[in-house]
Amino acid sequence: MTEKIVISGFGGQGVMFMGKILAYAGMLADKEVSWIPSYGPEMRGGTANCSVTVSNQEINCPVVTKPSIVVAMNTPSQEKFLSTLIPGGLLVVNSSIVKEEANRTDVKVLRIPAQELAADKVGKASLANVVILGAMLAKMDLLSIQDVVLAIKEVVAAKRPEMLAINQQALEVGMSYVKENNL
């Protein structure tokens, strides 16, 4: 099984971080992983994105052209990557700022008001990206929330242990939102 994930948003929304955490979680769970950032001019305005592949098999092609999951943190990201999503794929949208409905019926769409959830239920609006990750994990078989918590523990909490609990809470808020609303 292979998941090819594109995560996209404005610079500052933590899209590179989300990708890195996913790749790290996959590595700790003994999966094959790769992470490719957009770099250069794309980092200097407009959308930033990264591609993450998590697989049970050797990853032949790390370049993601047809993702199975797209995470769109802003409207340009949804416009740019929705058409690349494979039929039956998963679109996770930050509906706090993406007001446009996705114009495809052959994909699963999760619209998550991540910024409101992060602000109201976690108490830290800047964790909207982690809330989105939690929502995505609710629909992703290859990685569990525990895998991602382990990754956060090693990547973030090694230097800032106080961040672990609140990140875990943000993941759970995202996951619960999907389950409670039967998305």
Binding site: M27, G40, N60, C61, P62, V63
Partner: protein, 371 residues
């Protein structure tokens, strides 16, 4: 393990902790672990993380990092450091590598073991920052003046960046020759898990030629100046013999599904991985196609092509250039069968589906029922 041969043979592999590293960081860490203690460079996207990592971590191992005022200066600092017998590296990207070519010619002429890294971006000129393989000619056919060769290693994963960086230092010392590690921008920027294997150090010749202070011995002089033509020719013959020896002993490649292949896709670096995915798709459709991935670009693995003999009906190279390696493939097979090109340029990369479509376009007979 890739077939082919190398004078670097290692035993006792112990897998250690996995690290999730960017290709550029992995190169830098592998270099430090290989004993690189001096680094001179000038930052340029998409290679800059190598320089950043060296600046941060070399002081901790009593090494030195100098950000030169330009690439011209950096390569000549490497020239001096290697002459003193120290393991030294520089890294850059395409336009920076162009600036280094003069110094590189001097380093090759003086047979100095410098390790260079080119994280290739789109050119020519200032170009773009996207991944490219358009520096193949520069890497394998010279670039600087005179008749010299670099050993050119072309990894296709972050793990191989680590393994080949280590080998680059040993090969440079083994053959007294500059070694170039060449990778497209994707490989420099991507993160993959890596392990740093604990391997035996190969037996390497002492650097008796290094300028380390002449007390108690005749002084060593490092110069490429030979005004007497007879001496010039003797030098050239010595270098020619060395290059022939390297060409005979250091060819490396990897092959995939090649045994029953009617057609062979040839690609290196990131495009080799894309091509492998295309080969798998083709196999699912019953097309007998394999993949040959050069790991050394110089020496080009002509032995791999010779081993295939006359049974291959055609080759397709996949390149991020207007077609450069394709010339070496044609030479390797003496133009015996058609060699076609599938390429993207200017920072774009092909998808596996594009590669497969191009393959079917140029080899319609490969498809069952095709004409």
């Amino acid at each position: 393990m890739a077939p082919g041969s190398s004078t670097i043979n290692r035993k006792r592999v112990v897998a250690l902790k996995k690290y999730l590293l960017k290709g550029n960081e992995a190169i830098a860490e592998a270099a430090i672990k290989a004993g690189c203690r001096l680094f001179f460079g000038y930052p340029i996207t998409p290679s800059t993380e190598i320089i950043e990592y060296m600046a941060k971590h070399l002081p901790a191992v009593d090494g030195s990092f100098v950000q030169a005022e330009s690439e011209v200066s950096a390569i000549n600092m490497c020239y001096g450091a290697a002459g003193a017998g120290v393991r030294v590296m520089t890294a850059s990207s395409s336009p920076g590598m162009s600036l280094m070519q003069e110094g590189l010619s001097y380093i090759a002429a003086n047979e100095l073991p410098v390790v260079l890294v080119n994280i290739v971006r789109a050119g020519p000129g200032l170009g773009g920052l996207g991944p490219s393989q358009a520096d193949y000619f520069q890497a394998t056919k010279g670039g600087g003046h005179g008749d010299y060769r670099l050993i050119v290693l072309a990894p296709n994963s972050v793990q191989e960046l680590v393994d080949l960086t280590r080998d680059a230092f040993d090969l440079a010392d083994m053959h007294r020759n500059p070694v170039l590690l060449i990778a497209d921008g994707i490989l420099g920027q991507m993160m993959e898990p890596v392990v740093f294997k604990e391997l035996e150090a190969p037996s390497l010749p002492d650097k008796t030629w290094a300028t380390t202070g002449a007390e108690g011995r005749p002084r060593n002089i490092i110069t490429s100046y030979a005004l007497q033509n007879e001496i010039g020719e003797a030098n050239c013959l010595r270098w020619e013999a060395k290059y022939k020896n390297i060409a005979a002993t250091e060819q490396r490649w990897e092959q995939y599904m090649i045994d029953d292949a009617d057609y062979v896709v040839v690609a290196y670096g990131t495009t080799a991985r894309i091509a492998k995915a295309a080969v798998q798709q083709a196999r699912q459709e019953g097309i007998k196609v394999g993949l040959l991935r050069p790991v050394t670009l110089w020496p080009f693995p002509v032995k791999a092509f010779a081993a295939l003999g006359g049974k291959v009906k055609g080759y397709l190279t996949v390149e991020l250039s207007a077609g450069q390696m394709i010339e070496d493939v044609r030479l390797a097979i003496n133009c015996a069968v058609p060699v076609h090109l599938c390429n993207r340029q200017g920072g774009m990369v092909p998808s596996p589906e594009e590669v497969l479509a191009r393959f079917k376009e140029v080899f319609p007979n490969s498809v069952e029922g095709g004409v």
